[in-house]
Amino acid sequence: MTVARGVAPLLPLEVETVRPDPVAPQVWEEVELTDADQELRKELLDTWGDNPGLWGWLRSTSHLSIAKRYIITAFLFFGLGGLEAGLIRLQLSQPENSFIGPDRYNQIFTMHGTTMMFLFAVPVMVALALYLVPMMVGARDVAFPRLNAYGYWVYLIGGLFVYVQFLLNTAPDAGWFSYVPLAGPEFSPGKRVDTWAQLITFTEIAALVAATEIIVTVFKHRAPGMSLNRIPLYVWAMVVTSFMIIFAMPSVATGSQFLAADRLIDTHFFNHAEGGDSLLWQHLFWFFGHPEVYIIFVPGLGIISAIVPAFTRRPVFGYPVMVLALVTTGFMSFGLWVHHMFTTPIPQLGQSFFTAASTMIAIPTGVQIFCWIATIWAGRTRFATPMLFVIGFFVVFIIGGVTGVMVASVAFDQQAHDTYFVVAHLHYVLLGGAVFPLLAGVYYWFPKFTGRMLSERLGKWNFWLLIIGVNVAFFPMHILGLEGMTRRIYTYLPETGWGPLNAVSSAGAVIIVVGMVVFAINFFWSLRRGKTAGENPWGGETLEWATSSPPESYVFMYLPVVKSRAPLWSEGSERVVVGGLRSDVRDTLTTTLMDAEPDHRQSSPAPSIWPLMAAVATGVMFISAVFTPWGLVVGSVLLFFALFFWGWPDKADQAKRLAGESEATA
């Protein structure tokens, strides 16, 4: 096997074959460790493990630790967002309810939307990917571990900041979309909208970091042999999502900085009296905001594609079509944004174009659905909880999908726009297209994360409560919307006749809450008492199931080599692995973009406190900028120093590395 391309590695890389197995197993079996392996394991743990104690915890750059924190934090925000939803449903459960006043209500619904979109949905999807993608492509860590840690800390600081503001009664109150001029300096004095604009900046940075990590990890750190046409569909979905993040976020970043500038230093980007335009904000926001929906939903598609094979015992039918459908969805999602603006004064011809695009984006998703149904048909389906949630995805998401095609119509949208019909539609899409797959994913990968299975019994309760609750809560909203109930109202008069259906909807919300409490109980109970899971409890076919559960810090003792799309189901009896990587320093392998041929060895940096420090500096910069433009100056200086020390080489690590290399060449 030739290795050296471009940069010649100092140590020879070789592909070894280990432990031939006399009987060909359908699924890779777990292997006993030899004494030599035990020794290697110890060394790898030394090299890759987090340092002990709080200091070690803060310095950690391991993608396993970071992603786990990320996922847990995102679920905490999910809980808070859900709590806000509960308050909203409580307030709307009857006409002229005086439970919450308009000022508080506007903060609550703004926080609900902002939390769910910016602090839960996107973060949890990328966090799951930061955990799984490196394992699925057979890498030990993400491409830039320190940057990864920085992204998480920035996200955490942003989220904490906005919730502290919420407790201080200065949470944003102009909606998660912050339309100007309502969100502008004249109609939203005070610091509420500034808080929102800076929160967006925090989450933009975190999302861009995660997207960069995922793309580079997938493109440069795949296991040898994992050519582009062997990448698992989930990983493809995350690559598409990451590219969408990279193209969508700059738009909202521009918008939120214009907004902050209008508010803070009296620019007039959106002030029509001075030649600005409030429609500019809507274009900038929705050019991000519509792809955002797909940024949340495409990972869901990926999760479905990851789970279906394990429970049907068959690879997903139509791999090339599935990949093309994902890529097409990614491209098309950038051509739809104007359908959020059908009632604004824009030319009719333009509207028709966006109607056509919004309608046609249903095709790639439809094709994927057909491919999954075909896979189920050809398979031998088992109904464990993850698969139930997959079925829930079909039932709920398709309702949201068809109403989505309806609101793509300019004529119909004029009636439905900004009413509870759209609230119903978007919750069907996001709950069906993201939350059901996400929960399916949690049930599916929980054994990998923790080494224990979630309870099937509670899982089924969780599923049935959720699917019933979602339909009871959101289905009536379709009708409410067409009966004239507009969005974002804190109360309504009895004579509107909206009372009964709102009461039904609120009852549905209670069922959802009970369902999610069951989920939480299941989580905590199983964490301690769950059945022990082996390496591969579901018999999955992708590489994350070829490591221990939970994975050790080094993930793979030997980096795997793959020969097919479903490496763990491959014919033959041998595990082929990569040799020649050092175990005393953080050595990783980079491979070529198309064919994933070994390219060279790369050293992954040691843990460091500076990503956290840089995130704190970033936090100082953005948070103080809410109050004074000078905050940006002070923050930049702090950030400069943090980044300076971030890049400062670690002497001990450096010495070890050099010593090892000269030994090898000698």
């Binding site: 009296a273 039918f317 079509v321 149904i373 079925i391 119909f412 004239g484 006749g497």
Partner: protein
Amino acid sequence: MRQSSRLWPSFRRTVIALTALLGACIVPGNESAFNPAGPQAGRISTLWWFMLAAATAVWVVVMVFLAWAVRRSRQRDQALREPAGDASMQRGVVVGGALTVLILTAFLIADIATGRALGALPRKNALRVEVIGHQWWWEVNYIDPTPGRIVTTANEIHIPVGEPVQIIGSSPDVIHSFWIPNLHGKKDLVPGHTTSTWLRADKPGVYRGQCAEFCGAQHSKMTALVIAEPRPQFDAWYNAQLASARPPSNPVTARGQDVFLKSSCVVCHTISGTLAAGTLGPTLSHVGSRLTLASGSLPNTPGNLAAWIVDPQRIKPGTRMPSSNMNQADLQALVTYLESLK
């Protein structure tokens, strides 16, 4: 098979329950896009029923195929080994994809046809009404080439039945959206832009609609009423609105007018024929003739008017109208005066 026999009935039950819920819920209300009173809303309603039928069919068909696929795959002892079954799967996916394209194209054509029909409303001799969204009420101006025939009112738009009306929308503050579900879809009122929409009411009636674009604290209580009435009644109303506000006709109303003119009311409100010429709030020249108060928040009764004047923040927290501190007799007189302004 044990699990399948448990799952199948529960799935069926869910479907039946959902269908029942659907049937129970679609009962047209008053303020409803299901209950059109004009050609625009009628067209959109037709489009809606077509789309609902097609969408329901799509959902049901996909669910049936999913259920069938699940049943089939549970009867097998093991999954079909690749490439067994590929040919039939490929056929299925291709047919499904083709049907998707067809249905979506039908949707697109239906949408474009409806859009054209909406634009084809005859516009001869249209009544032109300027609707200006304010935080949180609607200013309504009837445009007429003769300056003396311009009528200004608020929150309630009278229109003649069967005649086209052009609504010219704008906003001096934030974005609002004008929407009367029984008559037509909504149109945003965007600061710095002038928007236009057409509607026609074919049945007399009072049609309610709320501001549809989030516009701040009292977005919820920003209701407009469209009152469609036969031409003679409309003309009578119009002429009454053209006249100056009625002067006080008895000592109580005279005292009421006095209270009004000497209080801060005049800063924001106009009563034609008096010195009160404020324009920050709705005109009160004919406030007694309106059906509701505070932009559709309350029925227009003397009691509600008094409550509104004394403590508007209780009824509509955040409204721009301040509370007034006046004695009982003054309040009584003021309310009587305002209610006399028919």
